[in-house]
């Protein structure tokens, strides 16, 4: 009797196993088209948000306590350093309005259209939960209520970070420029040549594709957004060319770019309109 029961359950378990494997493979196969995960996150964001908050709270608590315990000496030191930095940067900023005016005048002479000006900037905070270590996505704490839109560009103080790929009630998902499925049209600041950069999955490098062997390109060239892809506004730094390898049996140069934004360590990001 007991044995029979055991046997029956075993059979049932096997059926369940096959069923679940088929379902999960089907879900993975159709993930790109159906976007079921996005849909679920969208509808249940009021449950997911608290889970993220709870998971993030130990880190926040640690940060707050360390801030509280931090010595006065350290704070004064940091304050002085920041003051110096502000002084230097405001000195640099002073030169910008005349430069802008000059630029405008020159462009008028060449009958160019006016340059792109971003009108609004919103600062968002990263929600520091541990996504899969191999995924190139981060979560930010702004959502539907802040009028974000899909494909909005996200930058930090050093350069371009990524685009918004999913918007939920109180949080959104940013796909970084190093994601393997992401590409960006850059322009070389020295030569004004356009270059397509695509992600590698590694947060420390991008790769530049289809650069012919005789192209004028050297290590240390700075790449900027071109503004031609209608996603990123022009003129933001992307990174710097770090490696150029010439292999004679290949048609194109092997070029690696190191992104300038602090992709894995920053806490605050800016959203551009």
């Amino acid at each position: 009797m007991n044995n029979n029961l055991h046997f029956r359950q075993n059979n049932f378990t096997l059926i369940k196993l096959v069923l679940f494997i088929v379902i999960s493979v089907y879900l993975m196969y159709t993930d790109r088209q159906l976007k079921l995960g996005t849909e679920v996150r969208n509808n249940f964001s009021y449950i997911i948000q608290p889970i993220y908050t709870i998971a993030e709270s130990p880190l926040k608590l640690y940060k707050n306590t360390s801030l509280y315990i931090d010595t006065k000496k350290n704070i004064i030191k940091e304050n002085n350093a920041l003051k110096k930095k502000v002084l230097v940067q405001s000195g640099v900023i002073q030169q910008i309005p005349p430069l802008k005016a000059e630029n405008k005048r020159l462009k008028k002479l060449l009958s160019f259209s006016s340059s792109i000006d971003t009108s609004k900037i919103l600062i968002a905070e990263l929600i520091k939960v541990n996504l899969s270590p191999f995924s190139n996505k981060v979560i930010i704490n702004k959502g539907d209520s802040d009028n974000l839109f899909l494909g909005q560009s996200v930058v930090d103080s050093f350069g371009v970070l990524g685009v918004i790929s999913e918007i939920n009630q109180n949080f959104s998902v940013v796909t970084l420029i190093t994601d393997p499925g992401h590409a960006i049209l850059a322009v070389n600041a020295r030569t004004n040549k356009r270059i397509v950069l695509s992600g590698t999955g590694d947060n420390r490098k991008l790769k530049a594709k289809y650069i012919s062997l005789n192209e004028d390109i050297i290590e240390g060239d700075i790449l900027m957004t071109s503004g031609l892809d209608n996603i990123f506004p022009g003129g933001y730094t992307i990174g710097e060319i770090s490696v150029i390898k010439k292999e004679l049996n290949q048609d194109f140069l092997h070029v690696k770019v190191s992104p300038s934004s602090a992709l894995s360590s920053n806490r605050e990001v800016m959203l551009l309109w």
Binding site: T13, S24, V40, Y52, A55, L59, V129, P133, S135, I139
Partner: protein, 160 residues
């Protein structure tokens, strides 16, 4: 019936706690080689109550993890289901083993985790390093006996 309800409640609470542990931010050195904590908790629950905690639990918690980690839906659910199936096959043997033996059997049970994560990562073009996956398996084998004892202590305290 009351006991069975109690079992489900305590396992669900344990799994929820494990989910939070799984997405807890860590220093970046530990980040890439963190052990699959939810899977270990699920393994314990299955070893403790093989008739109540079954493949449905594994599949659903895998899906929940996929949704929270912004992975392709079904990625974690697949290897959770396979691992828990293995445990449901062999739980009478594993229960009787000494703790050294248990460490060895958890190493074998985590093979589907290793295989499916490497296979799926390469199919879905997710960048990964095999060494990190191996380190995470070694860490989970090392922490398994203490985790097992801790969870048994909690379970015995709250289900009696």
């Amino acid at each position: 019936m009351v006991v069975i309800n109690k079992i489900h409640i305590i396992s669900t609470l344990l799994l929820l706690f494990a989910i939070i542990l799984n997405i807890l931010p860590l220093p970046s050195i530990l980040d890439s080689c963190r052990p699959p904590i939810l899977l270990l908790f699920l393994t314990y629950c299955t070893l403790a109550y093989p008739h109540n905690i079954n493949l449905t639990y594994a599949f659903i918690s895998g899906l929940v993890l996929d949704i929270l980690l912004i992975m392709p839906l079904g990625y974690n659910a697949l290897y959770f289901t396979v691992t828990i199936y293995l445990i449901m096959m062999y739980y009478p043997q594993i229960r009787l083993q000494s703790s050294w033996n248990k460490m060895f059997s958890i190493l074998i049970i985590l093979i589907p985790f290793f295989l499916s994560s490497t296979l799926l990562n390469s199919i879905l073009k997710i960048n990964y390093s095999i060494i990190d996956v191996l380190i995470s398996i070694v860490i989970s084998v090392i922490i398994w006996p203490s985790l097992f004892n801790m969870l048994r202590f909690i379970r015995q305290k709250y289900t009696q």
